[in-house]
């Protein structure tokens, strides 16, 4: 096994274990912290695919900002196992069935897709993940979706400002 394989299995194992811990830990704060570990493992994968920009943006945006907001909410609500509302057994069963169906769908889709059969992950190849190439592609081939996304963000920002403004009529 080469180093890259060892790293790959290490990171994958960590990611899967942390993802399981997100579901299994009783304390919601622990869940959030395990989710951050998942993000780290995934960022490690990005780096191995030579997508450094994606890796670090994943960390900054998800682990650095969004998860902090999650933590805010959970810490302030002070959730614990006693505050959790009891769910009916049928609800749990329905959840298991729905989730299981989704999993089967995903696995079958992934295994049948023609581009993905008989292909291993290409490590450290391609430089689309590097920031220079990414910028060029974003502003040439994908300029329309990119601008649309920015318009979406702008409208979301305006919406947030409007919601956050004090109501002067009251």
């Amino acid at each position: 096994m080469s180093i890259i394989q060892i790293l790959f299995y290490l990171l994958s194992g960590l990611a899967v274990f942390a993802a399981l811990m997100v579901l299994l830990s009783k304390n919601p704060v622990h869940s959030v912290l395990w989710l951050i570990v998942v993000f780290f493992a995934i960022s490690g994968h990005y780096i191995m695919l030579n997508a450094q920009f994606l890796a670090i943006v994943n960390l900054i945006v998800y682990a650095g900002a969004i998860m902090v907001l999650f933590l805010f909410v959970i810490m302030l609500m002070n959730l614990n196992s006693s505050a959790e509302p009891g769910k009916h057994i049928w609800m749990k069963l329905a959840g298991v069935v729905a989730g299981g169906c989704f999993l089967i769908m995903l696995v079958s889709l992934a295994s049948q897709a023609p581009e993905m059969t008989n292909k291993t992950v290409q490590m450290k190849e391609g430089n689309i993940g590097l920031i220079k190439e990414l910028g060029k592609v974003l502003f040439s081939d994908f300029v329309l979706p990119f601008e649309l996304t920015s318009a979406l963000f702008l409208s979301a920002m305006v919406g947030a400002v409007v919601l956050g403004k004090k109501d002067s009529t009251q």
Binding site: S2, V29, I36, Q52, A63, A65, L71, M75
Partner: protein, 360 residues
Amino acid sequence: MSLLQLDILLLIEKLVLIVIIVLASLGIALYTTFAERKVAAILQDRPGPERAGPLGLLQPFADGLKLVMKEEIIPGNANKALFILGPALAMTAALMTCAVIPWSSQVELFGRKIDLQIADINIGILYVFGVVSLGVYGIMIGGWASNNKFSLMAALRGASQAISYELAMGLSLIAVLMLGGSLSLKTLVDQQMAPGYLWNIAYQPLGFLIFFVCALAECNRTPFDLPEAESELNFGYHQEYSSMKLGFYLFSEYVNMIMSSAVMACLFFGGYDIPFLDEKTLPVNLAAVLGLGALLTKIVLFLFLFMWIRWTIPRFRYDQLMNLGWKKLIPLALVNMLLTGIFILMKQEGTWQTITGFFK
């Protein structure tokens, strides 16, 4: 990727470099705590600590020894694992920044050219941002795990402050990156060293100002030390901490200060560039040593500025802090970015073409 073709010599070289840089930053941080007390004293017409050792130079060790010898208390209802994780994370995040900072140019030892930088990754400055955003968790986890309302409030304040100011910081940085055209700190420094180019501070005074204010806020330094506001929050997020765990929190603040000073020196003040001197004419090793000296001088000056501000300005109120961050610094940074973009375009295409280009 050099990681994969295991070059043993490279590995040893980098390991040695990592150990030296980490130990050196810890040593500098140790004496920064001393310098803080001394500067405070001098600005307040006092002599400051001067009893431990000659001129009080052993004072930081006395402080450290005191912290280590103190009783270690973990509150009864605290979350033990997270309580211990908090200061560890804060310290790790603070030290991790030093990996991308170019401490000097190359040195030649035993016939090998050694870069005085641990990793020159092409996302350099973004890595710093990623690590800084991690540092928030040290505060948040510590504050929450203490199971104390004051700690929790301080942690929330600290985290929201760090996230808010990270935005303005990033935006002010974009203008610099547009000038340099790279994210790698080494490339940015090399560009400022090139003959005919001034330091970035000459092109980006506003950007530097915004970045500096945000750096103060990120390091939880006065006037933005709200997470540690003892008059309103008892002691802040580390209220329940004692012994070396508290020491780690306090210490990580100083390491953060050093690292942000180093980043500012690299981005705006030419890093290891010595003004009015062409390093290419000097022998390689001499240039590297002088460069390191130049960078350290800049760092020390920044640290003094940090302290000088701390002992001058009172603390901002929380709403003032948020107003300043969101309503003043972010729009200013955006305007700065826009202006820089326009000027770069003008330089590339000529003034007239740029103006007509807007109406095409």
